[in-house]
């Protein structure tokens, strides 16, 4: 009779490649580890780094699905290492860095640069009317339901999972991805932002924007924060299309 409490032996195949290092070539390196109760991929990776290979590169900060640093391809699907329990995975686990983003080394990618470029391109900040900014004036109150809706979209942690899961983004590097579209949806809701749908059309009214989305919806299905990306992109498409065909 087998011992039901025995821990599995996990076999990790991790893509190793350091573009900064001369002569480094991409390869899959195997590590083995005994599974522990409540083990996350983040814990497993730390254990591998501490006990087997200190050269292994991966990112993490918060360990709680808040910072979005530990996004990686887990058996081909993007996800956060800190939110992924090994017990929900088969004993053979393949890890790779998120595609599309600049590779720093091994599992570590520079999502920050991509997100910053996106933010500048889509102007993801509140655009107030000229002369409206008065620091001495008490800010208008906001309806709590509206604040809640804005907060819901503001929960995006820019982990890059939606971009890595997007077939369009994999084919077309200028596509803004679900993260870009959900940011526009967020500012569109904000009453402090003076921009109209016609202004947003200028930002996302083309095949690199909302009309490039092919509704494959892997973004929605992998989002670690469960953002309503499907609903938001469809809503945005209706509004932006209405501007275009007027």
């Amino acid at each position: 009779m087998t011992d039901q409490t025995a821990h599995r032996k996990l076999s990790f195949r991790i893509l190793r490649y350091n573009p900064q290092e001369n002569g480094s070539t991409p390869r899959l390196q195997r590590y083995e580890l005994e599974e522990a109760d409540g083990m996350t991929l983040f814990i497993a990776l730390n254990e591998i780094r501490e006990q087997q290979d200190p050269s292994l590169q991966f990112d993490f900060v918060c360990r709680a699905g808040i910072c979005g640093s530990c996004g990686m391809m887990i058996n081909g699907r993007p996800g956060l290492a800190c939110r992924t329990l090994t017990r929900n995975l088969p004993p053979e686990i393949t890890l790779a860095p998120l595609p599309i983003f600049e590779l720093i080394g091994d599992l570590s990618v520079n999502t920050g640069r991509w997100m910053r470029d996106l933010g500048e391109r889509l102007e993801t900040w509140v655009h107030m009317k000229a002369g409206e900014l008065d620091l001495g004036h008490i800010e208008e109150t906001m309806d709590p339901d509206l604040a809640e809706q804005i907060y819901l979209l503001d929960r995006c942690i820019e982990c890059g999972c939606c971009v890595a899961a997007c077939g369009t983004a994999r084919m077309r590097e200028d596509f803004v991805g679900a993260v870009g579209l959900s940011k526009i949806a967020r500012f569109r809701l904000d009453p402090r932002d003076a921009r109209t749908d016609a202004d947003y059309y200028e930002l996302i009214g083309d095949d690199d924007g909302v009309f490039g989305c092919m509704s494959l919806l892997a973004c929605h299905d992998v989002c670690p924060k469960n953002l309503p990306l499907k609903t938001q992109i469809a809503f945005l498409r209706r509004k932006i299309a209405a501007v275009g065909i007027k």
Binding site: M73, G76, R77, P78, P99, A165, G167, R170, M171, R172, Y201, E202, G205, D206, D207, F211, C213, M214, S215, L216, L217, A218, D221, K230, T231, A234, F235, R237, R238, I240, A241, V243, G244, I245
Partner: protein, 235 residues
């Protein structure tokens, strides 16, 4: 004027230039043309099934589309004209859909690699939509060519003859599931793309696949009925 000033002016001019409204129009026309084609397909397959009632019912449907009951005599060219209009709609839809396909080896390889890795149902369904769409270029062409050039041969006996003696059953047996898969995937995508009607994907899927399955059964039954009739005619 300094170079940097000139650059700033160019940047400002670019910024002020309103963006082309064409992408919105193309996106909407792609969906509307797809919807029109799905509605046509639904009606087409229902009317094809008239053969299940009997050869006279199939003939009555064919003559109705030739204007027999409107003008007193049948004018098969009306069917040719309608088929030409349909061909135009198909071309518009196909050309617009081509924008979404991989345009280079790099894009194709990137998507195939992504598809294999992510193992995601809706992404896979899109790929099947592409594959069936490409197949339809070749499958619809002979079908429409016959309708446009030989509209007078549409009716119970002539169609049955075509199905059996001219072996058109092979074409129809392939065309039917391919066009239904493409239409079902397209309808599903259109609903999630525009967010209307407001249905979750879990609730939408049984509707789409249930209706497509029912049409497939109906279409196959009609094809079998034409085959039986064709075999009787050859005897």
């Amino acid at each position: 004027m300094k170079g940097s000033d000139q650059l700033a002016d160019v940047a400002a001019a670019t910024r002020r230039a309103p963006r082309d409204r064409l992408p919105a129009l193309l996106d909407v026309v792609q969906s509307i043309s797809g919807l029109a084609l799905v509605m046509f397909l639904g009606m087409h397959l229902l009317l094809d099934a008239a053969i299940l009632i009997g050869p006279s019912a199939a003939d009555a449907v064919a003559r109705a589309f030739e204007g027999q009951y409107l003008f007193g005599t049948a004018h098969p060219w009306i069917v040719s004209l309608a088929a030409l209009a349909l061909l135009t709609l198909i071309v518009v839809h196909a050309v617009l859909a081509l924008r979404k396909l991989p345009h280079s080896t790099r894009e194709y390889v990137a998507f195939r690699h992504h598809l294999r890795g992510i193992n995601h149902g809706d992404t896979r369904l899109w790929w099947w939509q592409v594959v069936t769409g490409m197949a339809l270029f070749f499958l619809i062409a002979p079908h429409l060519y016959i309708v446009i050039t030989q509209p007078e041969t549409i009716g119970a006996s002539a169609s049955a003859h075509r199905v059996v003696a001219e072996r058109a059953w092979v074409l129809y047996a392939i065309l039917l599931p391919v066009v239904l898969l493409h239409a079902a995937a397209g309808t599903y995508r259109m609903v999630v793309k525009w967010g209307w009607p407001k249905l979750s994907r879990v609730r939408l899927r049984p509707w789409v696949w249930g209706i497509a399955g029912a049409y497939c059964v109906l279409g196959l039954a009609a094809l079998v009925a034409y085959t039986i009739l064709g075999l009787r005619l050859t005897e």
